[in-house]
């Protein structure tokens, strides 16, 4: 939460840009922390959609609302259109950033930090499974009946969660 707060401040304070670029991958969390603590980039600029030719029609917004199971009557469609346009612009800018050695890039490893797992051999696999299957490996909530799953739900009945039919239908 603390870091999220910092990012929000960055977004509101920084109004300048030194241009976006993709450098080498970070090697450690501390490198990432150092990078995030320096004023080298501007979130506001990335969300600036001036010059963007992206359009979001009202029909698309309505369709997205339906797909997400959200009610239309309480939404301000023009606001959503504006926000989506800004987000599309942001994604477009990210996609336009030049990548070095793009041909050799394996998307599986395209992360903030490298993630190369140690391969698990057969013996280790069996050992992991044996350990996982021991009752003591379960956390408290993983023990059947140990907590009331529907206890905090707004609507439940006889142990079931209740979903209004209208929410299920017309989702396309």
């Amino acid at each position: 939460m603390k870091r999220f707060g910092q990012l929000t401040r960055l977004a509101s304070w920084r109004t300048y840009s030194v241009g976006s670029k993709v450098g080498r991958a970070f090697l450690s969390i501390s490198e990432l922390d150092t990078f995030l603590s320096r004023n080298e980039w501007s979130v506001a600029e990335l969300f600036d959609d001036r010059g963007s030719d992206a359009t979001v029609s009202k029909d698309v917004v309505v369709s997205l609302l339906k797909m997400s199971g959200l009610a239309q009557d309480k939404c301000i469609i023009p606001d959503i259109q504006r926000t989506l346009k800004s987000q599309i612009s942001f994604i477009s800018k990210l996609q336009r950033i030049e990548l070095r050695n793009q041909d050799n890039l394996d998307v599986k490893y395209a992360r903030v930090l490298p993630r190369h797992n140690k391969p698990i051999n057969f013996e280790e696999l069996l050992s992991i499974i044996e350990k996982e299957n021991k009752p003591q490996s379960k956390t408290a909530d993983e023990i059947s009946g140990s907590w009331d799953a529907t206890g905090l739900a707004d609507s439940s009945e006889n142990g079931y969660f209740v979903v209004r039919k209208g929410l299920i239908k017309n989702r396309d």
């Binding site: 797909m67 997400s68 199971g69 998307v107 599986k108 992360r111 993630r115 797992n117 140690k118 391969p119 698990i120 051999n121 057969f122 280790e124 696999l125 069996l126 992991i128 499974i129 996982e132 299957n133 490996s137 379960k138 956390t139 909530d141 993983e142 023990i143 059947s144 009946g145 799953a149 529907t150 009945e157 006889n158 142990g159 079931y160 969660f161 209740v162 979903v163 209004r164 039919k165 209208g166 929410l167 299920i168 989702r171 396309d172």
Partner: protein, 540 residues
């Protein structure tokens, strides 16, 4: 109008034997979802028991299973092992670096708002399942169905739709949420419904032999979607097919529906795009068209690491696979067993025969009993006799008396049980007397609370004690005299006339009377021969 048209189409299909038009080739592919019977769920260690729903909804749910904000998935590697076993048995190429992806869609029984699946880099690709004309009852001598890919993924929860005080609503049970599934996708290699039926049976047997799933369609442990098309027209996906007969009937109906559209020249209008249809028990009905297809917005799951495996896993998984059913069946069809396909399949195909025994135990008992019998068989080896005494007499008695096979082995292991079969084969006792003897021994065993041992069983002593030895040395003229008395006592000229007129089955009634008179000590075949001699009719 449409319903009348469908009714006519349905009646036409059900009354006629289903055939395909040679100019309009049926093309089918399958998507099979199989629930894995691991102890715990896919991304949590809550108990994997999707059938607890009726009495205890949401009982087997962790914070992650119901998507409490902030919870993260943790892979259960037992699911990985199960998937590897299936991939290896299907000769698929195992991916040593597979990954999980998110498939986004909104539904009440999918609390995360996305399903974790393997879209970009599944655990296995390629492979095949082979079917054979003699074993799998397909027209071709051999048919190979190629596998596209296998992927691990989460099951959803379950929705029950009711109309309550607040109107229509869905009751959501998340016991099934996050239960591990394998989705298997085949190439569109099926050209006849018989192949589809055979594939499903064979695949069910495979997952049961591997002990990775119950493979039951009726409970939803296995769910099959079918893609059906004709020639190069777009494919139609069929969903909601609860059992094999629904699958077969839906394909037949859909083929005829598409064929009718094509022949009437309306394909441009009605078969232009891919479409998803359901099965209502009588006809296929439109669920979704291409225009309303959901964009799932797939993305790699950032909370799950790759499944990175060492190459030694492939070889070691192969080593722990059980012998395939095809190999078992072929071995029973060959020397020394020479069984029929039906009997060989009964001994080889895995099914939960009873709570008292499983298929593997029965198969092992048969093989050992057969070899013991073979050592002491008085004449030529009669494998059908051993099959009958194991599959019918033994299992029938175990069911009747509720005795587990494991307990039974204490008193009549293969060495001892084969003695009984040899006594029957040798004519020392008739088959009827043998059955009585077996029941007596098992009843005593059960009543003793399974204390009796093998050495307590003396078949010869029991035969003498109950005087049930076969009357093989009975004088022929004496036997004939007794049989004539039976005919006189029955006193039914119509019956005798019908036997003489050629209804040879009617002679069974007289044989039954004879069996009763001699208390099963004379063989039924011998009695039948004597009755036919007396009535001067030929054996047919």
């Amino acid at each position: 109008m449409a319903s009348i048209r469908y009714r006519l189409l349905r009646n036409t299909i059900s009354k006629r034997r289903f055939t395909t038009d040679p100019n309009f080739k049926l093309i089918c592919g399958l998507e099979v979802h199989t629930q894995l019977c691991t102890r715990n769920k896919l991304f949590s260690l809550s108990t994997n028991d999707p059938f607890a729903s009726i009495s205890k909804p949401n009982f087997h749910t962790s914070y992650f299973d119901i998507a409490v904000p902030g919870t993260k998935p943790k892979l259960n590697y037992e699911c990985v092992l199960y998937a590897l076993k299936l991939a290896s048995a299907l000769n698929s190429d195992i991916n040593l670096n597979s990954q999980f992806d998110r498939k986004h869609y909104f539904y009440g029984d999918q609390p995360q708002g996305y399903q974790i699946t393997q879209h970009y880099s599944p655990i296995a690709k390629g492979g095949y399942l082979e079917m054979f004309g003699d074993i799998d009852r397909i027209k071709d001598e051999k048919k190979r169905i190629n596998i596209t890919q296998l992927q691990l993924e989460q099951d959803t929860g379950m929705s029950h739709y009711i109309t309550g005080d607040n109107g229509a609503q869905s009751m959501i049970d998340l016991n099934r949420s996050n239960v591990p599934l394998i989705e298997l996708v085949t190439e569109p290699d099926f050209s006849h419904v018989d192949q589809v039926r055979a594939f499903i049976k064979k695949y069910q047997d495979l997952v049961r032999q591997l002990k990775i799933s119950t493979g039951d369609l009726e409970t939803g442990s296995m769910r099959v979607d079918v893609n059906v098309s004709i020639n190069d027209y777009p494919r139609i996906e069929l969903k909601n097919l609860p059992n094999t007969s629904s699958i077969v009937n839906a394909i037949k109906f859909e083929y005829q529906r598409q064929l009718k559209i094509i022949k009437s020249g309306q394909a441009d209008q009605f078969l232009k795009h891919q479409e998803t249809r359901g099965w209502d028990g009588a006809k296929t009905v439109k669920l979704r068209s291409k225009e309303t297809t959901i964009d799932y917005r797939y993305m790699p799951d950032p909370e799950l690491r790759l499944i990175t495996l060492d190459a030694d896993v492939i070889e070691n998984v192969r080593k722990i696979l059980p012998e395939s059913s095809d190999v078992k069946i072929r071995s029973f069809l060959a020397e020394p067993f020479n069984l029929t396909v039906k009997d060989a399949k009964m001994l080889s195909i895995s099914s939960q025969l009873s709570k008292l025994y499983n298929n593997e135990e029965v198969k092992q008992f048969f093989i050992e009993t057969f070899h013991e019998y073979q050592k002491n068989a008085p004449n030529e080896v009669r494998s059908k006799l051993v099959v009958s005494w194991v599959l019918h007499e033994l299992l029938g008695n175990l069911n009747k008396l509720n005795i587990p096979l494991k307990e039974f082995l204490q008193i009549l292991p293969p060495t001892k049980y084969s003695e009984l079969i040899v006594l029957v084969d040798n004519g020392d006792i008739t088959s009827s007397s043998g059955k009585l003897l077996l029941f007596h021994v098992l009843k005593e065993f059960k009543d003793s609370n399974y204390i009796k041992k093998t050495e307590d069983v003396d078949f010869q002593g029991l035969i003498r004690q109950f005087d049930i030895g076969a009357l093989s040395d009975m004088d022929k003229s004496k036997l004939e005299k007794e049989c004539k008395t039976i005919i006189a006592e029955v006193d039914n000229p119509k019956l005798i006339e019908s036997i003489k007129a050629g209804k040879t089955k009617a002679v069974k009634y007289l044989v039954g009377q004879g069996m009763r008179k001699f208390q099963g000590r004379v063989k039924a075949q011998e009695l039948q021969r004597v009755f036919q001699d007396i009535l001067n009719i030929n054996d047919k």
